[in-house]
Protein backbone atom coordinates (compact mmCIF):
# COMPACT_ATOMS: atom_id res chain seq x y z
CA UNK A 1 0.00 0.00 0.00
CA UNK A 2 1.30 3.48 -0.91
CA UNK A 3 2.04 5.82 2.05
CA UNK A 4 -0.65 8.32 0.93
CA UNK A 5 -3.23 5.52 0.75
CA UNK A 6 -2.14 4.28 4.16
CA UNK A 7 -2.61 7.77 5.65
CA UNK A 8 -6.04 8.09 3.95
CA UNK A 9 -7.08 4.68 5.37
CA UNK A 10 -5.95 5.76 8.80
CA UNK A 11 -7.94 9.00 8.58
CA UNK A 12 -11.07 7.08 7.54
CA UNK A 13 -10.61 4.55 10.35
CA UNK A 14 -9.83 7.15 12.99
CA UNK A 15 -13.35 8.44 13.90
CA UNK A 16 -14.93 5.00 14.55
CA UNK A 17 -11.75 3.90 16.31
CA UNK A 18 -11.84 7.01 18.52
CA UNK A 19 -15.48 6.35 19.37
CA UNK A 20 -14.72 2.73 20.34
CA UNK A 21 -11.76 3.83 22.46
CA UNK A 22 -13.57 6.75 24.07
CA UNK A 23 -17.02 5.25 24.62
CA UNK A 24 -16.10 1.63 25.18
CA UNK A 25 -12.47 0.84 25.82
CA UNK A 26 -11.66 3.64 28.31
CA UNK A 27 -14.93 3.20 30.27
CA UNK A 28 -14.27 -0.56 30.36
CA UNK A 29 -10.72 -0.09 31.67
CA UNK A 30 -12.02 2.44 34.18
CA UNK A 31 -14.80 0.06 35.20
CA UNK A 32 -12.40 -2.88 35.53
CA UNK A 33 -10.05 -0.68 37.56
CA UNK A 34 -12.82 0.57 39.90
CA UNK A 35 -14.16 -2.96 40.37
CA UNK A 36 -10.97 -3.81 42.28
CA UNK A 37 -11.15 -0.71 44.54
CA UNK A 38 -13.06 -0.13 47.74
CA UNK A 39 -12.44 3.03 49.79
CA UNK A 40 -9.34 3.59 47.61
CA UNK A 41 -7.90 0.21 48.59
CA UNK A 42 -7.17 -2.65 46.16
CA UNK A 43 -9.51 -5.51 47.08
CA UNK A 44 -11.54 -8.45 45.74
CA UNK A 45 -14.41 -7.60 48.10
CA UNK A 46 -16.60 -6.28 45.24
CA UNK A 47 -16.31 -9.62 43.50
CA UNK A 48 -16.99 -11.53 46.68
CA UNK A 49 -20.16 -9.40 47.07
CA UNK A 50 -21.13 -10.21 43.51
CA UNK A 51 -20.65 -13.91 44.25
CA UNK A 52 -22.55 -13.72 47.55
CA UNK A 53 -25.46 -11.50 46.52
CA UNK A 54 -25.81 -11.78 42.77
CA UNK A 55 -24.67 -15.21 41.59
CA UNK A 56 -28.31 -16.33 41.20
CA UNK A 57 -29.11 -13.08 39.41
CA UNK A 58 -26.33 -13.83 36.93
CA UNK A 59 -27.72 -17.33 36.37
CA UNK A 60 -31.22 -15.85 36.10
CA UNK A 61 -29.97 -13.36 33.47
CA UNK A 62 -28.22 -16.10 31.52
CA UNK A 63 -31.31 -18.32 31.72
CA UNK A 64 -33.60 -15.61 30.36
CA UNK A 65 -31.12 -14.66 27.62
CA UNK A 66 -30.62 -18.30 26.53
CA UNK A 67 -34.31 -19.21 26.62
CA UNK A 68 -35.30 -16.04 24.76
CA UNK A 69 -32.51 -16.49 22.20
CA UNK A 70 -33.41 -20.14 21.61
CA UNK A 71 -37.08 -19.24 21.14
CA UNK A 72 -36.28 -16.27 18.86
CA UNK A 73 -33.94 -18.34 16.69
CA UNK A 74 -36.34 -21.27 16.47
CA UNK A 75 -39.25 -19.05 15.44
CA UNK A 76 -37.08 -16.96 13.07
CA UNK A 77 -35.54 -20.02 11.37
CA UNK A 78 -38.93 -21.55 10.61
CA UNK A 79 -40.80 -18.32 9.91
CA UNK A 80 -38.08 -16.90 7.64
CA UNK A 81 -37.80 -20.27 5.90
CA UNK A 82 -41.50 -20.11 5.14
CA UNK A 83 -41.22 -16.49 3.99
CA UNK A 84 -38.22 -17.38 1.79
CA UNK A 85 -40.01 -20.26 0.12
CA UNK A 86 -43.43 -18.56 -0.10
CA UNK A 87 -43.01 -14.78 -0.28
CA UNK A 88 -45.57 -13.01 1.93
CA UNK A 89 -44.84 -9.29 2.27
CA UNK A 90 -47.69 -8.40 4.72
CA UNK A 91 -46.62 -11.14 7.19
CA UNK A 92 -42.98 -10.09 6.83
CA UNK A 93 -43.94 -6.48 7.59
CA UNK A 94 -46.01 -7.47 10.65
CA UNK A 95 -43.05 -9.32 12.13
CA UNK A 96 -40.74 -6.37 11.52
CA UNK A 97 -42.96 -3.83 13.31
CA UNK A 98 -41.29 -4.26 16.75
CA UNK A 99 -38.07 -2.94 15.18
CA UNK A 100 -39.62 0.52 15.40
CA UNK A 101 -41.01 0.19 18.93
CA UNK A 102 -38.76 1.31 21.84
CA UNK A 103 -37.99 -1.19 24.61
CA UNK A 104 -39.90 0.94 27.16
CA UNK A 105 -43.04 0.79 25.03
CA UNK A 106 -42.59 -2.97 24.59
CA UNK A 107 -42.35 -3.30 28.38
CA UNK A 108 -45.49 -1.26 28.89
CA UNK A 109 -47.42 -3.08 26.15
CA UNK A 110 -46.51 -6.44 27.66
CA UNK A 111 -47.57 -5.24 31.14
CA UNK A 112 -50.97 -4.37 29.73
CA UNK A 113 -51.20 -7.65 27.85
CA UNK A 114 -49.74 -10.14 30.33
CA UNK A 115 -50.63 -8.75 33.80
CA UNK A 116 -52.97 -10.90 35.98
CA UNK A 117 -55.90 -8.67 35.01
CA UNK A 118 -54.41 -7.75 31.65
CA UNK A 119 -55.86 -8.03 28.17
CA UNK A 120 -54.81 -11.65 27.60
CA UNK A 121 -56.42 -12.95 30.78
CA UNK A 122 -59.56 -10.88 30.15
CA UNK A 123 -59.98 -12.51 26.75
CA UNK A 124 -59.22 -15.98 28.16
CA UNK A 125 -61.77 -15.47 30.96
CA UNK A 126 -64.39 -14.35 28.42
CA UNK A 127 -64.08 -17.70 26.66
CA UNK A 128 -64.10 -19.50 30.02
CA UNK A 129 -60.52 -20.76 29.93
CA UNK A 130 -59.45 -19.08 33.20
CA UNK A 131 -61.04 -17.65 36.34
CA UNK A 132 -60.29 -13.94 36.78
CA UNK A 133 -60.64 -14.27 40.57
CA UNK A 134 -57.51 -16.40 40.57
CA UNK A 135 -55.75 -15.33 37.36
CA UNK A 136 -52.43 -16.85 36.23
CA UNK A 137 -49.76 -14.26 35.57
CA UNK A 138 -47.15 -14.35 32.88
CA UNK A 139 -46.02 -10.81 33.67
CA UNK A 140 -43.95 -10.06 36.80
CA UNK A 141 -41.63 -13.04 36.35
CA UNK A 142 -39.03 -14.51 34.00
CA UNK A 143 -41.67 -15.62 31.49
CA UNK A 144 -42.99 -12.09 31.07
CA UNK A 145 -39.46 -10.76 30.47
CA UNK A 146 -38.71 -13.62 28.06
CA UNK A 147 -41.94 -13.10 26.08
CA UNK A 148 -41.19 -9.36 25.78
CA UNK A 149 -37.59 -9.96 24.69
CA UNK A 150 -38.69 -12.62 22.21
CA UNK A 151 -41.27 -10.33 20.62
CA UNK A 152 -38.92 -7.36 20.45
CA UNK A 153 -35.89 -9.33 19.17
CA UNK A 154 -37.88 -11.41 16.70
CA UNK A 155 -38.08 -8.38 14.42
CA UNK A 156 -34.29 -8.04 14.29
CA UNK A 157 -33.96 -11.80 13.89
CA UNK A 158 -36.40 -11.81 10.96
CA UNK A 159 -34.44 -8.98 9.33
CA UNK A 160 -31.09 -10.76 9.71
CA UNK A 161 -32.16 -14.35 9.06
CA UNK A 162 -34.35 -13.49 6.08
CA UNK A 163 -31.45 -11.50 4.63
CA UNK A 164 -29.19 -14.53 5.04
CA UNK A 165 -31.78 -16.86 3.51
CA UNK A 166 -32.33 -14.52 0.58
CA UNK A 167 -28.61 -14.57 -0.20
CA UNK A 168 -28.94 -18.31 -0.88
CA UNK A 169 -29.38 -18.61 -4.64
CA UNK A 170 -32.81 -19.79 -5.76
CA UNK A 171 -31.32 -22.66 -7.78
CA UNK A 172 -30.16 -24.41 -4.57
CA UNK A 173 -33.79 -24.51 -3.43
CA UNK A 174 -35.08 -25.43 -6.86
CA UNK A 175 -32.64 -28.33 -7.01
CA UNK A 176 -34.07 -29.61 -3.71
CA UNK A 177 -37.68 -28.91 -4.70
CA UNK A 178 -37.07 -30.80 -7.92
CA UNK A 179 -36.45 -33.93 -5.85
CA UNK A 180 -39.57 -33.37 -3.73
CA UNK A 181 -38.17 -31.52 -0.72
CA UNK A 182 -41.01 -29.98 1.31
CA UNK A 183 -40.75 -26.42 2.65
CA UNK A 184 -39.53 -27.83 6.00
CA UNK A 185 -36.86 -29.98 4.30
CA UNK A 186 -35.72 -27.01 2.21
CA UNK A 187 -35.29 -25.01 5.44
CA UNK A 188 -33.61 -27.84 7.39
CA UNK A 189 -31.43 -29.29 4.64
CA UNK A 190 -30.53 -26.26 2.53
CA UNK A 191 -31.33 -22.82 3.99
CA UNK A 192 -30.28 -23.46 7.58
CA UNK A 193 -26.86 -25.02 6.93
CA UNK A 194 -26.08 -22.54 4.16
CA UNK A 195 -26.91 -19.61 6.47
CA UNK A 196 -25.39 -21.05 9.65
CA UNK A 197 -22.65 -18.42 9.98
CA UNK A 198 -25.09 -15.50 9.53
CA UNK A 199 -27.44 -17.12 12.00
CA UNK A 200 -24.67 -17.41 14.57
CA UNK A 201 -23.81 -13.74 14.10
CA UNK A 202 -27.47 -12.74 14.52
CA UNK A 203 -27.59 -14.92 17.64
CA UNK A 204 -24.49 -13.22 19.07
CA UNK A 205 -26.02 -9.77 18.51
CA UNK A 206 -29.27 -10.67 20.19
CA UNK A 207 -27.67 -12.54 23.08
CA UNK A 208 -25.51 -9.57 24.09
CA UNK A 209 -28.50 -7.24 23.71
CA UNK A 210 -30.61 -9.53 25.92
CA UNK A 211 -27.89 -9.71 28.59
CA UNK A 212 -27.97 -5.92 28.76
CA UNK A 213 -31.79 -5.69 29.01
CA UNK A 214 -32.83 -2.99 31.42
CA UNK A 215 -36.13 -1.27 30.70
CA UNK A 216 -38.06 -4.45 29.89
CA UNK A 217 -37.11 -6.30 33.13
CA UNK A 218 -37.60 -3.09 35.09
CA UNK A 219 -41.14 -2.69 33.80
CA UNK A 220 -42.28 -6.28 33.65
CA UNK A 221 -40.10 -8.00 36.26
CA UNK A 222 -41.28 -8.89 39.75
CA UNK A 223 -39.26 -6.21 41.59
CA UNK A 224 -38.00 -8.98 43.89
CA UNK A 225 -34.98 -11.26 43.58
CA UNK A 226 -33.87 -12.76 41.33
CA UNK A 227 -33.36 -9.78 39.06
CA UNK A 228 -31.55 -9.32 35.77
CA UNK A 229 -27.99 -8.02 36.20
CA UNK A 230 -28.57 -4.57 34.72
CA UNK A 231 -31.30 -3.92 37.32
CA UNK A 232 -28.80 -4.89 40.03
CA UNK A 233 -26.25 -2.42 38.61
CA UNK A 234 -28.95 0.29 38.60
CA UNK A 235 -29.93 -0.36 42.25
CA UNK A 236 -26.31 -0.63 43.38
CA UNK A 237 -25.52 2.81 41.96
CA UNK A 238 -28.76 4.73 42.54
CA UNK A 239 -29.87 3.39 45.89
CA UNK A 240 -26.61 2.40 47.51
CA UNK A 241 -24.01 4.56 45.79
CA UNK A 242 -21.84 1.44 45.54
CA UNK A 243 -19.86 1.95 42.35
CA UNK A 244 -17.34 -0.78 43.20
CA UNK A 245 -19.87 -3.64 43.20
CA UNK A 246 -21.72 -2.11 40.25
CA UNK A 247 -18.45 -2.09 38.30
CA UNK A 248 -17.69 -5.68 39.30
CA UNK A 249 -21.16 -6.68 38.00
CA UNK A 250 -20.37 -4.77 34.80
CA UNK A 251 -17.09 -6.62 34.35
CA UNK A 252 -18.83 -9.99 34.86
CA UNK A 253 -21.47 -9.02 32.26
CA UNK A 254 -18.71 -7.97 29.93
CA UNK A 255 -16.97 -11.34 30.32
CA UNK A 256 -20.24 -13.15 29.58
CA UNK A 257 -20.75 -11.10 26.43
CA UNK A 258 -17.08 -11.28 25.41
CA UNK A 259 -17.22 -15.00 24.60
CA UNK A 260 -20.08 -14.37 22.21
CA UNK A 261 -18.45 -11.25 20.74
CA UNK A 262 -15.26 -13.25 20.19
CA UNK A 263 -17.22 -15.80 18.21
CA UNK A 264 -18.78 -12.99 16.17
CA UNK A 265 -15.41 -11.42 15.39
CA UNK A 266 -13.95 -14.80 14.41
CA UNK A 267 -16.89 -15.45 12.07
CA UNK A 268 -16.69 -12.12 10.25
CA UNK A 269 -12.92 -12.23 9.89
CA UNK A 270 -13.12 -15.79 8.55
CA UNK A 271 -15.72 -14.62 6.01
CA UNK A 272 -13.55 -11.74 4.85
CA UNK A 273 -10.33 -13.71 4.48
Amino acid sequence: MRPSLRIASLIIALPPLAIVVWLFFIPFLSSAHLSFLREDQWTLRNYSLVWRLYRYDILYTLWIAFVSLAAVLLIAVLLCGYLRVHTNKPVEFLFKIPLFIPFVVVGHAMRVLLAPKGTLNSVLSQVGLINLNDPPSIAFGWMGIAVSLIWKNLALAVLLVLGAYRSVDETYLEAARNFGASAFRQIRDILLPMSAASLAVAGAFMFTSMLASFSVPLMIGSGEPPQMVMIDVYYRINYQGDYGTANALGVVSYLLAMGVAGYYLRTITQKET
Partner: protein
Amino acid sequence: MVEVRVENVRKTYGRVEALRGVSLNFRSGALTAILGPSGCGKTTLLRSIAGFIAVDAGRILFDTEEVGGLPPQRRGTAMVFQNYALWPHMTIFENVGYGLRLQKVPADEVRRRVRKVLELVEIGNLADVESRRPSALSGGQQQRVALARALVVEPKVLLMDEPLSNLDAKVRQRLRVELRRLQKQVGITAIYVTHDQEEALALADTVVLMDQGMIVQAGTPQEIYLKPTTAFAAEFLGVSNQLEGEVTDGKLVVGGQSIPYTGAARGRVTVIFRASDIQMEEPSAPPRAGTVALTGVLEESLFLGAHYRHYIRLAGGMVMADSPDLRRPGPVRPVLPVEKVPVYGEQAT
Protein backbone atom coordinates in the same frame (compact mmCIF):
# COMPACT_ATOMS: atom_id res chain seq x y z
CA MET B 1 -39.04 -42.76 -22.11
CA VAL B 2 -41.71 -40.13 -22.48
CA GLU B 3 -42.60 -37.66 -25.17
CA VAL B 4 -42.99 -34.09 -23.95
CA ARG B 5 -45.61 -31.98 -25.68
CA VAL B 6 -46.04 -28.27 -25.21
CA GLU B 7 -49.24 -26.80 -26.63
CA ASN B 8 -49.79 -23.07 -27.13
CA VAL B 9 -47.96 -22.14 -23.92
CA ARG B 10 -48.00 -18.50 -22.88
CA LYS B 11 -46.21 -16.72 -20.06
CA THR B 12 -46.14 -13.01 -19.34
CA TYR B 13 -44.00 -11.11 -16.81
CA GLY B 14 -45.66 -7.74 -16.31
CA ARG B 15 -45.75 -6.31 -19.83
CA VAL B 16 -43.11 -8.65 -21.21
CA GLU B 17 -44.36 -11.68 -23.11
CA ALA B 18 -41.77 -14.36 -22.36
CA LEU B 19 -43.61 -17.14 -24.20
CA ARG B 20 -46.03 -16.25 -26.98
CA GLY B 21 -48.02 -19.38 -27.77
CA VAL B 22 -45.24 -21.95 -28.01
CA SER B 23 -46.18 -25.40 -29.36
CA LEU B 24 -43.60 -28.12 -29.66
CA ASN B 25 -43.00 -31.87 -29.44
CA PHE B 26 -39.90 -33.19 -27.70
CA ARG B 27 -39.31 -36.69 -29.09
CA SER B 28 -39.02 -39.50 -26.57
CA GLY B 29 -35.47 -40.68 -26.01
CA ALA B 30 -34.02 -37.80 -28.04
CA LEU B 31 -31.98 -34.81 -27.02
CA THR B 32 -33.62 -31.57 -28.07
CA ALA B 33 -31.65 -28.34 -27.82
CA ILE B 34 -33.53 -25.08 -27.38
CA LEU B 35 -31.29 -22.45 -28.88
CA GLY B 36 -31.67 -18.70 -28.82
CA PRO B 37 -30.24 -15.38 -27.66
CA SER B 38 -30.63 -14.04 -24.09
CA GLY B 39 -34.23 -13.17 -23.27
CA CYS B 40 -35.73 -15.28 -26.08
CA GLY B 41 -37.79 -17.35 -23.61
CA LYS B 42 -35.81 -20.59 -23.77
CA THR B 43 -35.13 -20.80 -20.02
CA THR B 44 -38.73 -19.81 -19.25
CA LEU B 45 -39.90 -22.69 -21.45
CA LEU B 46 -37.54 -25.14 -19.69
CA ARG B 47 -38.58 -23.95 -16.22
CA SER B 48 -42.24 -24.21 -17.23
CA ILE B 49 -41.68 -27.84 -18.21
CA ALA B 50 -39.85 -28.41 -14.90
CA GLY B 51 -42.75 -26.88 -12.98
CA PHE B 52 -40.80 -23.99 -11.44
CA ILE B 53 -42.96 -21.53 -13.38
CA ALA B 54 -46.73 -21.69 -13.72
CA VAL B 55 -47.72 -20.86 -17.30
CA ASP B 56 -50.55 -18.41 -18.00
CA ALA B 57 -52.13 -20.51 -20.74
CA GLY B 58 -51.56 -23.68 -22.72
CA ARG B 59 -50.87 -27.32 -21.87
CA ILE B 60 -47.76 -29.32 -21.03
CA LEU B 61 -48.07 -33.08 -21.50
CA PHE B 62 -45.76 -35.98 -20.70
CA ASP B 63 -47.09 -38.63 -23.11
CA THR B 64 -50.83 -38.30 -22.46
CA GLU B 65 -50.61 -37.01 -18.89
CA GLU B 66 -51.13 -33.29 -18.45
CA VAL B 67 -48.52 -32.08 -15.94
CA GLY B 68 -49.22 -28.34 -16.08
CA GLY B 69 -50.86 -28.31 -12.65
CA LEU B 70 -48.37 -30.63 -10.94
CA PRO B 71 -45.57 -29.42 -8.64
CA PRO B 72 -41.98 -30.04 -9.85
CA GLN B 73 -41.41 -33.19 -7.81
CA ARG B 74 -44.49 -34.92 -9.23
CA ARG B 75 -43.52 -34.37 -12.83
CA GLY B 76 -40.59 -36.79 -12.80
CA THR B 77 -38.09 -34.34 -14.21
CA ALA B 78 -34.57 -33.65 -12.99
CA MET B 79 -32.76 -30.45 -13.69
CA VAL B 80 -29.08 -29.66 -14.24
CA PHE B 81 -28.40 -26.00 -13.53
CA GLN B 82 -25.98 -23.57 -15.12
CA ASN B 83 -24.29 -22.88 -11.77
CA TYR B 84 -24.43 -26.63 -10.89
CA ALA B 85 -26.40 -25.76 -7.69
CA LEU B 86 -24.51 -28.39 -5.70
CA TRP B 87 -25.17 -27.81 -2.01
CA PRO B 88 -21.82 -26.62 -0.63
CA HIS B 89 -22.34 -28.00 2.89
CA MET B 90 -22.92 -31.57 1.68
CA THR B 91 -20.33 -34.04 0.43
CA ILE B 92 -20.51 -35.30 -3.14
CA PHE B 93 -22.08 -38.52 -1.88
CA GLU B 94 -24.72 -36.58 0.08
CA ASN B 95 -25.43 -34.30 -2.87
CA VAL B 96 -25.98 -37.17 -5.29
CA GLY B 97 -27.92 -39.27 -2.79
CA TYR B 98 -30.22 -36.47 -1.62
CA GLY B 99 -33.04 -37.22 -4.05
CA LEU B 100 -32.96 -40.91 -3.12
CA ARG B 101 -32.99 -40.09 0.60
CA LEU B 102 -36.10 -37.96 0.06
CA GLN B 103 -37.68 -40.97 -1.64
CA LYS B 104 -36.80 -42.98 1.51
CA VAL B 105 -34.66 -45.46 -0.45
CA PRO B 106 -32.78 -47.77 1.99
CA ALA B 107 -29.22 -46.65 2.82
CA ASP B 108 -27.55 -49.66 1.12
CA GLU B 109 -29.50 -49.06 -2.05
CA VAL B 110 -28.62 -45.33 -1.95
CA ARG B 111 -24.94 -46.20 -1.66
CA ARG B 112 -25.11 -48.68 -4.53
CA ARG B 113 -26.98 -46.33 -6.86
CA VAL B 114 -24.87 -43.26 -6.04
CA ARG B 115 -21.67 -45.18 -6.77
CA LYS B 116 -23.10 -46.59 -9.99
CA VAL B 117 -24.13 -43.19 -11.31
CA LEU B 118 -20.83 -41.59 -10.27
CA GLU B 119 -19.05 -44.31 -12.26
CA LEU B 120 -21.40 -43.64 -15.18
CA VAL B 121 -20.42 -39.96 -15.30
CA GLU B 122 -16.75 -41.00 -14.96
CA ILE B 123 -16.04 -38.90 -11.90
CA GLY B 124 -12.60 -40.44 -11.33
CA ASN B 125 -11.39 -41.90 -8.05
CA LEU B 126 -14.74 -42.69 -6.42
CA ALA B 127 -13.53 -43.35 -2.88
CA ASP B 128 -11.66 -40.06 -2.88
CA VAL B 129 -14.28 -37.89 -4.57
CA GLU B 130 -17.47 -38.97 -2.80
CA SER B 131 -16.34 -37.72 0.60
CA ARG B 132 -15.25 -34.31 -0.70
CA ARG B 133 -17.21 -31.07 -0.76
CA PRO B 134 -18.15 -29.54 -4.13
CA SER B 135 -15.72 -26.64 -3.66
CA ALA B 136 -12.83 -29.13 -3.72
CA LEU B 137 -13.70 -30.20 -7.28
CA SER B 138 -13.02 -28.53 -10.62
CA GLY B 139 -15.88 -26.95 -12.60
CA GLY B 140 -15.99 -29.93 -14.97
CA GLN B 141 -16.14 -32.42 -12.11
CA GLN B 142 -18.85 -30.38 -10.39
CA GLN B 143 -20.96 -30.50 -13.53
CA ARG B 144 -20.48 -34.29 -13.70
CA VAL B 145 -21.70 -34.50 -10.11
CA ALA B 146 -24.69 -32.29 -10.95
CA LEU B 147 -25.50 -34.61 -13.84
CA ALA B 148 -25.11 -37.66 -11.59
CA ARG B 149 -27.45 -36.08 -9.03
CA ALA B 150 -30.07 -35.59 -11.73
CA LEU B 151 -29.69 -39.07 -13.26
CA VAL B 152 -29.62 -41.06 -10.02
CA VAL B 153 -33.37 -40.57 -9.42
CA GLU B 154 -34.05 -42.05 -12.89
CA PRO B 155 -36.17 -39.13 -14.12
CA LYS B 156 -38.58 -39.35 -17.03
CA VAL B 157 -37.16 -36.16 -18.52
CA LEU B 158 -33.72 -34.64 -18.05
CA LEU B 159 -33.68 -30.85 -18.21
CA MET B 160 -30.41 -28.96 -18.67
CA ASP B 161 -30.14 -25.19 -18.40
CA GLU B 162 -26.91 -24.09 -20.09
CA PRO B 163 -25.01 -26.73 -18.10
CA LEU B 164 -21.65 -26.16 -19.79
CA SER B 165 -21.58 -22.39 -20.10
CA ASN B 166 -19.57 -21.81 -16.92
CA LEU B 167 -16.74 -24.08 -18.09
CA ASP B 168 -13.70 -23.19 -20.15
CA ALA B 169 -13.74 -24.03 -23.86
CA LYS B 170 -11.62 -27.18 -23.66
CA VAL B 171 -13.57 -28.79 -20.83
CA ARG B 172 -16.82 -27.76 -22.48
CA GLN B 173 -15.94 -29.54 -25.70
CA ARG B 174 -14.94 -32.72 -23.87
CA LEU B 175 -18.05 -32.75 -21.68
CA ARG B 176 -20.22 -32.14 -24.73
CA VAL B 177 -19.15 -35.48 -26.18
CA GLU B 178 -19.66 -37.22 -22.86
CA LEU B 179 -23.11 -35.71 -22.37
CA ARG B 180 -24.12 -37.02 -25.76
CA ARG B 181 -22.74 -40.48 -24.92
CA LEU B 182 -24.52 -40.53 -21.56
CA GLN B 183 -27.86 -39.43 -22.97
CA LYS B 184 -27.72 -42.14 -25.64
CA GLN B 185 -26.59 -44.74 -23.09
CA VAL B 186 -29.39 -43.93 -20.64
CA GLY B 187 -31.89 -43.34 -23.45
CA ILE B 188 -33.66 -40.55 -21.60
CA THR B 189 -35.73 -37.74 -23.12
CA ALA B 190 -33.52 -34.69 -22.66
CA ILE B 191 -34.09 -30.99 -23.19
CA TYR B 192 -31.02 -28.80 -23.36
CA VAL B 193 -31.11 -25.02 -23.28
CA THR B 194 -28.17 -23.11 -24.71
CA HIS B 195 -27.25 -19.88 -26.45
CA ASP B 196 -24.24 -21.55 -28.08
CA GLN B 197 -25.16 -22.64 -31.61
CA GLU B 198 -22.11 -24.87 -31.97
CA GLU B 199 -23.06 -26.72 -28.78
CA ALA B 200 -26.67 -27.14 -29.92
CA LEU B 201 -25.66 -28.46 -33.32
CA ALA B 202 -23.06 -30.85 -31.90
CA LEU B 203 -25.25 -32.30 -29.16
CA ALA B 204 -28.83 -32.41 -30.30
CA ASP B 205 -31.00 -34.74 -32.33
CA THR B 206 -33.35 -31.81 -32.84
CA VAL B 207 -32.60 -28.11 -32.57
CA VAL B 208 -35.33 -25.60 -31.76
CA LEU B 209 -34.45 -22.00 -32.45
CA MET B 210 -36.33 -19.39 -30.40
CA ASP B 211 -36.59 -15.63 -30.57
CA GLN B 212 -38.82 -13.17 -28.70
CA GLY B 213 -40.89 -15.88 -27.02
CA MET B 214 -41.63 -17.75 -30.25
CA ILE B 215 -40.22 -20.69 -32.15
CA VAL B 216 -38.41 -19.52 -35.25
CA GLN B 217 -37.42 -22.90 -36.66
CA ALA B 218 -37.15 -26.52 -35.53
CA GLY B 219 -35.37 -29.38 -37.26
CA THR B 220 -32.30 -31.57 -37.33
CA PRO B 221 -28.97 -29.80 -36.80
CA GLN B 222 -28.24 -30.22 -40.51
CA GLU B 223 -31.56 -28.66 -41.56
CA ILE B 224 -31.17 -25.78 -39.17
CA TYR B 225 -27.61 -25.07 -40.22
CA LEU B 226 -27.88 -25.59 -43.94
CA LYS B 227 -31.40 -24.28 -44.56
CA PRO B 228 -32.16 -21.45 -42.16
CA THR B 229 -35.65 -20.22 -42.99
CA THR B 230 -35.29 -16.63 -41.75
CA ALA B 231 -32.61 -14.00 -41.71
CA PHE B 232 -32.60 -14.21 -37.89
CA ALA B 233 -32.00 -17.99 -38.04
CA ALA B 234 -29.24 -17.57 -40.58
CA GLU B 235 -27.58 -14.80 -38.62
CA PHE B 236 -27.87 -16.59 -35.27
CA LEU B 237 -26.44 -19.80 -36.71
CA GLY B 238 -23.24 -18.05 -37.52
CA VAL B 239 -23.74 -17.29 -41.17
CA SER B 240 -21.36 -14.45 -41.13
CA ASN B 241 -22.14 -12.31 -44.18
CA GLN B 242 -25.19 -10.14 -44.57
CA LEU B 243 -25.93 -7.72 -47.41
CA GLU B 244 -28.91 -5.50 -47.98
CA GLY B 245 -30.50 -5.75 -51.46
CA GLU B 246 -33.64 -5.14 -53.46
CA VAL B 247 -35.76 -7.35 -55.71
CA THR B 248 -37.53 -5.68 -58.64
CA ASP B 249 -38.76 -7.08 -61.94
CA GLY B 250 -37.14 -10.50 -61.53
CA LYS B 251 -33.77 -8.99 -60.63
CA LEU B 252 -31.91 -9.00 -57.34
CA VAL B 253 -29.71 -5.97 -56.87
CA VAL B 254 -27.03 -6.70 -54.30
CA GLY B 255 -23.44 -5.63 -53.74
CA GLY B 256 -23.59 -3.32 -56.73
CA GLN B 257 -24.60 -6.17 -59.06
CA SER B 258 -27.91 -7.07 -60.66
CA ILE B 259 -28.60 -10.79 -60.97
CA PRO B 260 -31.62 -12.79 -62.17
CA TYR B 261 -33.95 -13.81 -59.33
CA THR B 262 -36.96 -16.14 -59.42
CA GLY B 263 -37.71 -16.49 -55.68
CA ALA B 264 -40.73 -15.25 -53.73
CA ALA B 265 -39.21 -12.23 -51.94
CA ARG B 266 -40.01 -8.76 -53.20
CA GLY B 267 -38.83 -5.25 -52.33
CA ARG B 268 -36.06 -4.74 -49.78
CA VAL B 269 -34.35 -8.03 -48.93
CA THR B 270 -31.44 -9.38 -46.92
CA VAL B 271 -28.92 -11.74 -48.49
CA ILE B 272 -27.05 -13.94 -46.03
CA PHE B 273 -24.23 -16.35 -46.80
CA ARG B 274 -21.28 -18.07 -45.17
CA ALA B 275 -17.69 -16.93 -45.40
CA SER B 276 -16.70 -20.51 -46.31
CA ASP B 277 -19.01 -20.50 -49.37
CA ILE B 278 -17.23 -17.64 -51.10
CA GLN B 279 -14.59 -18.39 -53.69
CA MET B 280 -12.26 -15.59 -54.67
CA GLU B 281 -11.40 -15.17 -58.32
CA GLU B 282 -9.39 -12.66 -60.33
CA PRO B 283 -11.53 -9.75 -61.58
CA SER B 284 -10.58 -10.66 -65.16
CA ALA B 285 -11.82 -14.29 -64.87
CA PRO B 286 -14.79 -15.08 -67.16
CA PRO B 287 -18.21 -15.38 -65.42
CA ARG B 288 -19.44 -18.90 -64.66
CA ALA B 289 -23.01 -20.14 -64.99
CA GLY B 290 -24.88 -20.86 -61.74
CA THR B 291 -22.82 -18.43 -59.71
CA VAL B 292 -23.26 -14.94 -58.36
CA ALA B 293 -20.14 -12.88 -58.95
CA LEU B 294 -19.64 -9.71 -56.94
CA THR B 295 -17.01 -7.01 -57.32
CA GLY B 296 -14.88 -5.87 -54.44
CA VAL B 297 -11.51 -4.98 -52.98
CA LEU B 298 -9.64 -7.27 -50.60
CA GLU B 299 -8.54 -5.01 -47.76
CA GLU B 300 -7.09 -7.35 -45.18
CA SER B 301 -6.42 -11.04 -44.45
CA LEU B 302 -6.12 -12.54 -40.96
CA PHE B 303 -4.62 -15.94 -40.18
CA LEU B 304 -7.07 -17.90 -37.93
CA GLY B 305 -5.11 -21.15 -37.67
CA ALA B 306 -7.18 -23.49 -39.85
CA HIS B 307 -7.63 -20.88 -42.61
CA TYR B 308 -7.26 -17.23 -43.58
CA ARG B 309 -10.18 -14.85 -43.19
CA HIS B 310 -10.29 -12.17 -45.88
CA TYR B 311 -12.15 -8.88 -45.50
CA ILE B 312 -13.56 -7.67 -48.82
CA ARG B 313 -15.19 -4.29 -49.31
CA LEU B 314 -18.16 -4.29 -51.73
CA ALA B 315 -20.33 -1.43 -52.91
CA GLY B 316 -23.01 -2.52 -50.41
CA GLY B 317 -20.82 -3.26 -47.40
CA MET B 318 -18.06 -5.52 -46.11
CA VAL B 319 -18.05 -9.34 -46.48
CA MET B 320 -15.78 -12.04 -45.07
CA ALA B 321 -14.41 -14.95 -47.07
CA ASP B 322 -12.43 -17.95 -45.81
CA SER B 323 -9.74 -19.70 -47.81
CA PRO B 324 -6.68 -21.83 -47.06
CA ASP B 325 -4.28 -19.48 -48.89
CA LEU B 326 -3.08 -15.95 -48.26
CA ARG B 327 -3.96 -13.38 -50.94
CA ARG B 328 -2.61 -9.97 -51.69
CA PRO B 329 -4.83 -6.96 -51.04
CA GLY B 330 -6.43 -5.47 -54.16
CA PRO B 331 -9.37 -5.94 -56.55
CA VAL B 332 -11.03 -9.35 -56.25
CA ARG B 333 -14.18 -11.09 -57.43
CA PRO B 334 -16.05 -12.97 -54.68
CA VAL B 335 -18.10 -15.72 -56.32
CA LEU B 336 -20.95 -17.69 -54.75
CA PRO B 337 -22.97 -20.65 -56.02
CA VAL B 338 -26.54 -19.40 -56.59
CA GLU B 339 -28.04 -22.06 -54.28
CA LYS B 340 -25.89 -20.76 -51.42
CA VAL B 341 -27.28 -17.25 -51.60
CA PRO B 342 -30.57 -17.37 -49.69
CA VAL B 343 -32.65 -14.22 -49.96
CA TYR B 344 -34.90 -13.20 -47.09
CA GLY B 345 -37.75 -10.74 -47.44
CA GLU B 346 -38.07 -8.11 -44.70
CA GLN B 347 -41.17 -9.71 -43.16
CA ALA B 348 -39.27 -12.96 -42.60
CA THR B 349 -36.62 -11.44 -40.35
